[in-house]
């Protein structure tokens, strides 16, 4: 059952082994993506957004482990590839940008080198040859290449660094760009710039995007579809207007009602309780201890992600 034409993640389970026990970080994540589509992933901190992204890239490391599931990318299961084959996907077909752009750049190499390295790898040319394409890449993201290529990461502002990251990520013209909170560390003004830039480049480059964010506003404005995650599960997926105007899952509702919005004075509800400990997660639906509409079944059975309305998927027993 392939729902997306580009990427299909199904039943993805990831655990981390720690002293307190096994953290069941992903508990059967379902996610799909069509070509040129933009998917937003939102959720509270620790719900597994980054782990999902890293699993797609196969970058989960000790003490973590992908226990089961499939990640089909162009109908090829990435989890079954060996490291060498995977290296041909990373940075070429799928690339990624991260939250702290300055920290994500290697402090001892000049910007130009780091971009050239990426280009060299993706086109399978030498780094020397790749330098000729650095100006184009930098200009694409609106940077003065003459000046920027010889700077070190610490000499960049956050906004510039994120532009460099974007240039690096898109230089290889990947099919899929995964952006893990690309703007959370930036000011609103810069955030707006970056998002606009991304929007432009992605439209031109016809890349599919997974945008991870905890700002529902960003997801709403940038993405075609939004997936809401909670404690290691995708609990609701829908078109972005739909999900904000007609949230079905109690968690999604709670989340939306917690957001202060300018010019819309209302009481903020918040969601009672805290995110569960994933070492010993609640049985059944992991949200049930915080859910004000929970009933018996919720604590015993994990709801699966079902299409309740056209293109609107929810994992909640209320809608069965």
């Amino acid at each position: 059952m392939n729902r997306g034409s580009l990427l299909n993640v199904s039943k993805l389970r990831v655990v981390f082994y720690t002293y307190r026990g096994v953290i069941k970080a992903l508990n059967g994540v379902e996610l799909w993506l069509n070509e040129e589509e933009r998917l937003g992933i939102v959720g509270e901190t620790g719900c597994g957004k980054s782990v999902t992204a890293l699993s797609i890239m196969r970058l989960i490391e000790q003490p973590g482990e992908i226990v089961s599931g499939n990640v089909l990318f162009n109908n090829q299961d990435l989890l079954k590839l060996d490291e060498n084959e995977m290296d041909k996907i990373r940075g070429k077909k799928i690339s990624m940008i991260f939250q702290e752009p300055i920290a994500a750049l290697n402090p001892v190499f000049k910007v130009g080198f780091q971009i050239a390295e990426t280009i060299a790898h993706s086109r399978e040319i030498t780094i020397k040859d790749a330098y000729s394409q650095v100006p184009e890449a930098l200009e694409m993201v609106g940077l003065d290449w003459q000046r920027t290529k010889d700077l070190y990461p610490h000499e960049l502002s956050g906004g510039m660094a994120q532009r460099v990251m974007i240039a690096m990520a898109l230089a290889a013209r990947p099919k899929l760009l995964i952006a893990d909170e690309p703007t959370s560390a930036l000011d609103v003004t810069i955030q707006a710039q970056i998002l606009e830039l991304l929007d432009k480049l992605v439209t031109v480059g016809k890349n599919a995007v997974i945008l991870i964010t905890h700002d529902l506003g960003i997801a709403s404005e940038f993405c075609d579809r939004v997936a809401v995650m909670y404690a290691g599960n995708v609990i609701e997926v829908a078109k972005s207007e739909e999900i904000f105007n007609n949230p079905l899952h109690p968690y999604t509702k709670g989340l939306i009602e917690s957001i202060p919005v300018i010019d819309k004075s209302r009481d903020l509800k918040g969601i009672a309780g805290t995110v569960p400990d994933l070492v010993d997660p609640p049985s059944g639906c992991r949200f049930h201890p915080r859910c004000n509409r929970a009933f018996d079944k919720c604590s015993s059975e994990l709801p699966s992600l079902l299409e309740i309305e056209p293109d609107h998927f929810v994992a909640c027993h209320l809608y069965n």
């Binding site: 901190t45 000011d187 003004t189 207007e241 709670g254 957001i259 202060p260």
Partner: protein, 319 residues
């Protein structure tokens, strides 16, 4: 309304020396700030990162010494007081810091973290202190047994509550809240904000509320000051700022905020980035990024003009 805190021409410059021999450079983190905080208000300070918000809050509390200017608390000038003389005010003025993960001593039990101030300021027996801590923890939504835990056992929201408890246990009148929710999830943020509102009612507190999130300002504040590169750009009541914004910078900020449920929306994207604070632009500091900038803006520093009663703006064109 009665004024609780008044700040006059407050300046805080940080010296950064590039080398042993070269002349020192200054970061003008707070430059010539003047305002009054009415008693009982929630006085919000907004601005981009590095605009001097935290420095302003810390200077008012005299956690760092102001370079010049006056700070009045309840009519008394506290800007020149020594550490000893400040003691009395320390109890009345408190702070909740930006980062809940680093604001609690990692090797102390919660009861010691909260009890420290009590031991310093009040001559209390330990069982009295115990009761006080228990009560304040209950007030912020934690329980007695939490006293005997270490900070790392708490989530961000809980830590922020502990920090609030630490500030409130001294029965202060004035609390600086330095981005109390920026590290928290929205669902938790909503609850912390509500808690803060509730506590203000209960103890008739006055807040200096620092944030970069305009939506939160809209939800919380009664008065707002907008800062840019250490300078106040605009100052007024909440409605002045949100409904009748006079300064282009305020408009830019407002315009940049992403909003849910409105579908894809085209922003008027602001230009450029915040300049190096050690080397701010001549004239109006905002001119490099201002959509309305004229040649005058590059040369002349705009005055701080009262565009309406209680609504001030620092722009050549704000009238």
């Amino acid at each position: 309304m009665e004024t609780l805190v008044k700040v006059e021409n407050l300046k805080k410059y940080f010296e950064i020396r590039k080398s042993f021999f070269s002349k020192p450079l200054y970061v003008k983190a707070v430059e010539d700030v003047t305002f009054q905080i009415p008693k009982g208000s929630i006085f919000a300070v907004v601005g981009e990162s590095g605009s001097g918000k935290s420095t302003l809050g810390r200077t008012i509390l005299k956690l760092i010494e102001p370079t010049s200017g006056k700070i009045f608390y309840g009519g008394n000038d506290i800007s020149k007081l020594t550490r000893k003389e400040m003691m009395e005010y320390r109890q009345k003025m408190q702070i909740v810091q930006q980062d809940p993960y680093n604001s609690l001593h990692p090797r102390k039990l919660i009861k010691d973290i909260i009890g420290e101030g009590l031991k310093i300021h009040f001559d209390m027996r330990s069982d009295e202190i115990y009761v006080k801590i228990r009560d304040i923890l209950e007030l912020v939504g934690l329980r007695e047994e939490h006293m005997f835990r270490y900070p790392h056992e708490f989530s961000g929201g809980q830590r922020q509550r502990i920090a609030i408890a630490r500030a409130l246990v001294l029965k202060p009148e004035f609390v600086v809240l330095d981005e109390p929710t920026s590290a928290l999830d929205v669902s938790v943020q909503a609850r912390v904000l509500a808690l803060l509102k509730e506590l203000r009612e209960k103890f008739s507190l006055t807040y200096l509320f620092i944030t970069h999130n305009l939506a939160v300002v809209d939800y919380m504040a009664t008065n707002v000051v907008v800062m840019y590169l250490g300078k106040v750009m605009e100052l007024g009541s909440k409605d002045d700022i949100f409904k009748r914004a006079a300064h282009p910078y305020t408009s830019v900020l407002l315009d940049s905020v992403p909003t849910v449920g409105r579908g894809k929306r085209k922003h008027s994207v602001p230009r450029g980035e915040i300049p190096n604070p050690a080397n701010p632009p001549e004239g109006c500091v905002f001119h490099t990024r201002c959509p309305k900038a004229q040649s005058i803006c590059q040369q002349q520093v705009p005055d701080f003009i009262e565009v309406a009663p209680g609504h001030f703006c620092r722009c050549h064109f704000c009238r």
